[in-house]
Structures are given as structure tokens and as C-alpha cells.
Amino acid sequence: MDPSTTAPRSGLLGLFDNPYDEEGFRTCSVTGLNIHRSVENYVKLFGLTAVVALLVGGIAAIFVAMTRWELVSLTSAPDFYNWLSVHAWNLLIFWMVFMEIGILYVGGPMVLGRKLPTPSLAKTGWIVMLGSAVWINVELFTTSAPDSAPLLTSYAPLPSSAGFYLGTIVFILGTIIAALPFLISIWQEKTEHPNRSLPLVSFGAFITAIVALEALIGGLITYVPTYLWRIGIVEHIDAAWYRQMYWIIGHGSQQINLLAMITVWYFLTHVVGGAEVVSEKVSRTAFILYLFFINMGAAHHLMADPALATVWKEWNTSYAVYGAVIASMIHAFAIPAGLEAGRRKRGQGKGLFSWLMSAPWKDPVFSSVIFGIILFGFLGGITGVIMGQMQLNLTWHNTFATVGHFHATVVLGTTITFMGLVYFVIRLLFRRKLFLKPLAQLQPYFYAGTMSLTTLMMLYLGILYGIPRRHPSVTDIPGTEFDFAAAEPLFWVFGVAAILAITGGALFILVAVGSLLFGEPTDPSSLVPAVEPVEDDDTSLHAQSVRGTFTLTLVFLAVFVVTYVLNWYLLSRLWHIG
């Protein structure tokens, strides 16, 4: 250990004392970024909080999955719904949103080499978010009749506890407060340097923040009236109104996950894989497309609803298809192409795929990110577009396949990517060696593999057997002779895969927490090769082939087409509807 580069451990396990210069800056030996103490400390704080939420939600996953595997039937119906709510809120909301605030601080002030403006707002935001997250958890665990467990959606007029709605409002406000320092840093940057464009990562983070604000305002529009209705000040709440408003935040928050994840992909493929941006124009335009079009993607939650005209449904889904799906397909090309061209330029691969084979697959940051990209596209993206087609939605709506779709997006895509980001933060910001390194190297493979199997089983159970979601028992249903027992073999595979996947998640927590407690402090350049600077040489662009990426995206397209056709075939076997 070199004492000049590693600080001695002091208070708080030494987690917050890196060596800084007099003004509180340090230069990262891997990325070359000029990092200020204020930024770094809040990124660490939000990241650590997120991991705690992941733990709570992961524990809930045991109860949820082992109830749905009816061989185990772990909990009763009311407990199942409480656990399902805890699972959804801690994972989809708290794990993701705390990570995303951290990502904004990375994408803004850290990449721009600035101090965190108004750290007091970051602190206030963190306290409000944490307090309301704890409060919401208490409400979820203690829900009892006549209130219903809210699950993720708290569909009015089914009432949840008043504290739940209020806690949610407070959480939304806390998140807005915590996002402000990021927005201020962008504003400061643009006033100081009006004539230079933000780095792509900052630009992505900025678009993420705008989409996030739209979603959060939608959340206030939804939850404030719903709270007033719950405490009796407003008399009536309309179910169709609630659904349409709710999905502004319900789907909007998924767009935050998507945009934050893509921003992290550009960031980490560059830092650990040597990726470069092949076209600033194309990648930035794709982000702009999201800004204008992705909101309408929320309409795909309302495809099986009354009260909305067919034209409205078709326009919004097609509009979303035009704008947002194209944007995603562009990133799906641009990110691997950046990796391919960047690595080829550095002489790391001549053949069609040798740039990929020679990549640092033993680095859990790299493998997590690549699995996130591939699985998000192949499983999450394709299923999302399919179930977003108006008529196909009939066969997906509220089945277990829906659950399969969003585990493909938010777990196989976002969660795996964010796990990679946490590994990165442990090494580059906490400056620790990973604890139990072989286990850390294995974890992304194990988790991605077993969680993919779990997700595929969810998809098959929903599409091939019509298994409904949110049912604690389907092979033995109280009050009817009918049952779904034919699906039992698939539930076996699902159950075993889920246990393994939860184990994979636990391994992540073990490595992450273990590294902070026991990982040896070290200078990160001894762990990750420093990023070589990119020369601004635009002729080099065409010198590098991206044929490997092109081949991969064609494979993706072929899978897309085949799955699409199969789904229409399944639909066409139904009776006449409409």
C-alpha cells in the first residue's frame, strides 16, 4: 500500500476520506476526472442508501417468489400482498431513485469537474427521501383492512392507508429537492461556457432529469387529489382518471430508469472498455427523441381499458413507437459501435468479434454493463414493444408475462447495470479492492443467468398458460374447481431459478458491503487501466469498422421479428373480439 495515494481510515470506517487538495478536489487516476469532495461524498451517500433498499426489497422477493411457487406457499394472501408492495417499492422506487440521484451527480458536477452546488439541498433531499422511504415501508408492512396493500399501482378507488399517499407525496418532493443541485450545476456550466456542448454523459443526465421532473409532477397531480380523496375532502375519485394520471409517474419513472441506465452505459463502456462516441449527432438526437416522444409510451398501460378511443390508443402507441423505440434502437447500435470502434482504434481486435472477445470480461463492472445491454434489448425491449401493440396487449395484460417483461427491463437491464455501477463506485470513489474477488467476478454471470431464466419462466407462464399476476395461488383456487395446475412444471423451474437469482442478488450485497468493510484501500489505477485520452481526429471514424455491431443488431432484429410474428399468431387463434 502506498501511503501517498491512500488515506488512513478514520471515522465512518474511512469511507469518506479520500486525499483532496486544498480546494477539495482530486484527480481520478483512472478517468482523469477532477472530482470535488462534495460531489463524491453525496454520490457515495445516495449509492449506499440505494443498496440498503435493494436488500429490503430482495428479502421481500423471497416471500413473493416462494408464495407464487405453490409447492412452498410461504405466506397467506394478505401477507403476500404486503410483501409484494414492499418488494415493488423498495426495488423499483427506492433502489432505483437513490441510485439515480447519485447518477445525476456523477453525470453533472463530477463529469464537469465542478463542486456540488448547494450541498445543503442535496442533504435536505436525502433526509426527506430517506425519512419518507422509511415511513412508506412502515405503512406497507402494517397495511390492514379496510385498507388494501397498494402494490406498486395503488389503483383507486381501492383505498390504501392515508399515510401511504402522504408519504409518497413527501418522497416525490424530496426527490425534486435532491435533483436541484444537479440542475444548478448544468446551469452554472452553461453560463460559464455558453459556447461548448455538454459532454454526452452530462447531456444524457440532463435529459434524464427533465423526463424525471415531468414524471414527478405527474406524481403530484396523481397523489395529492388521491390523498384528499382518501381523507374524505374530495368525495369521488374516477378510476379512469386515476389510471391515466397514475401512469404519468408509473411509466415516467421507468423512463427515468431507462435514460439513467443508457447514460451509465455510455459512461462505463468508455471507462472500463475504451468505448468512444461514434457520432455525437446521432446519440444526442436519440436522447432528444426520448424527450419528445417517450412520455406517450405510458399509454401502453391503458390498451385494454374502456374510456379511451381506439384512435387515441393507436396514435399514442404508434407515436411512441416512432419516437422512443427508434431512439432505443439507435442507442442499441451506438453503444456497442462505440465500444467496437474505440477498441479497434486501440488495436484491441481485428476480426468481426475479437474486439468483444478481448474485452475485460473478468471485470464485474464490464460484464454487468454488457449483460445489462444485451438482456435489456433482447428480453425487455422486444417484449415491451410487443405488449405495447394495441391488440397484442389483450393477451399480455395483467398476466405473469407482464411481470416477466418488467423484470427483463428493470432487473436484467437496470438493476444489473446499476450493480455494475456500484462495483465501479466501490473501486474508483471508495477506492477499495473488491472483497472476495473471484466471487465478485462470478456474480454478474450467475445473477444474469439465473434471473434470465426466472424472467423467461414468468413470460412463458403468462403467455402459454395465461397465469394471472398478483395471485398467491393458481393451482389450487378457493371457491372454484378450475385451476392452472397444468402449469406446475414451469412453476418448478421458476421457483428454483428464483431461489438461485435471489442468491445471486445476495452475493452482490455481500461483495458490496464486504468491500466497504474489509476491502483493502488502494489507488484504483492499480485495479482498472487508466482511460487513454481520445484524440479529436474525425477522420479516424471511418477507419474503424463497426461490422461486428452491425451483425449483432441484425441478430437482434431477427429475434424481434420472429417473436413479433409468433405473438400475432397466438392472438389470431382467439375468438372474434370487437
Binding site: 482523469g32 394472501a77 399501482t153 381501492l158 389510471r243 446521432v282 439507435i330 398478483r470 481520445v534 471511418h542
Partner: protein
């Protein structure tokens, strides 16, 4: 090529785009048009498009409609045989008012769907072919009129698949399609 971590000072807009990337964007736009075109076309060439008028209706008013539907129907030990071609179904915690019904195969019925209390789901499948299934949303305050024709005789099972409270999983019903 450039670094995603560096501010851009040159004119990145005018940097030419790689040929392969252009082709991929072209493919993406084309594929998006196919997706949209096929979905819209299915409304005329396909048999499954959930299109039908919606009316606002209070739960009480809808209950009156269900009562008169039942009164006009022939009551058999397998369920109500509708007098005309209208079928009225309401979700309620935890059952479906109006079901079971006995329908004729090949005849078009107008399904009037609503709810008395909270949101419910109307998930339908033949008992012996679980993969042939679909779901519609039932909302209190709205009556959705959707024509459906069942060609294959048999028992069709109805599952509520919108969470409606702790008894959600017990909310089942059926209807029968006869030759």
C-alpha cells in the same frame, strides 16, 4: 470519435455519420412503420381489436341494467340464457354479477362490461386451452360495449386479474358456449 466525458467545442453536428449506423437507422425507421402499419391494419383484416363504445354509468344504474338483463333472460341450471344478443357483466368484490351465461356458438353478442366497486379484470380462456386467453379492464363508472363471437363450444373460464383486495384470487366465474 470523441469521449463521452469531454465537453464538445468543435462542430459535432457536421461530422459525417458512419455508413453502417445510417443503414441501421433506416432499418429502425422501416421496422417502426411496419409495427404501426400492421397494428392499424389488423383493425380491418384481423378479428381481434378491442374496439367498442364506452358510456359513463353509475354503479347503481348499471346494477339496474344487470337486474333487467337477468329478468329477461331464461334461467337454466347452467346459467342465464340471454333473451337477445346483449350480455351484461359487472365485476364486484369478489365475483361477477350476470355470470354464468349460456351463449350460442357463432352468434355475435354485445358484452356490456363494468364494475360495481373497484377496478377488476375480465380474463377469459376456454377451460381446455389455457394459451387462448385475453384480458379486458373493468372500471366502475364506465360501461364498455364490446361485441364478441365464440365459434368453439365449451366452458370458458373468467378470472379477475386486476388486484381488487385480499380476496382477488377467489374472484372467478364462467360461461358456456353451446352448439
Amino acid at each position: 470519435m470523441s469521449s463521452p466525458l469531454k465537453p464538445q467545442t468543435d462542430n459535432w453536428w457536421d461530422v459525417p455519420v458512419h455508413w453502417d449506423e445510417k443503414v441501421w437507422i433506416g432499418i429502425s425507421v422501416f421496422w417502426a412503420l411496419v409495427l404501426f402499419g400492421w397494428m392499424t391494419a389488423w383493425g380491418s383484416i384481423g378479428n381481434q381489436t378491442q374496439e367498442g363504445p364506452t358510456y359513463q354509468v353509475s354503479p347503481n344504474a348499471f346494477q339496474t341494467k344487470i337486474d333487467s338483463f337477468k329478468a329477461r333472460a331464461e334461467e337454466t341450471d347452467r346459467g342465464f340464457r340471454p333473451a337477445g344478443s346483449d350480455v351484461y357483466i359487472a365485476g364486484m368484490r369478489y365475483g361477477f354479477d350476470g355470470l354464468p351465461v349460456v351463449l350460442k356458438a357463432g352468434k355475435e353478442y354485445d358484452f356490456h362490461l363494468s364494475s360495481y366497486d373497484v377496478q377488476h379484470g375480465f380474463g377469459v380462456r376456454p377451460n381446455d386451452a389455457l394459451s387462448k386467453q385475453m384480458t379486458l379492464q373493468l372500471l366502475p363508472g364506465y360501461e364498455w360495449v364490446l361485441p364478441m363471437t365464440f365459434d368453439e363450444p365449451g366452458t370458458y373460464h373468467v378470472v379477475c386479474n386486476e388486484f381488487c383486495g385480499v380476496g382477488h384470487r377467489t374472484m372467478h366465474a364462467k360461461f358456456i358456449v353451446e352448439k
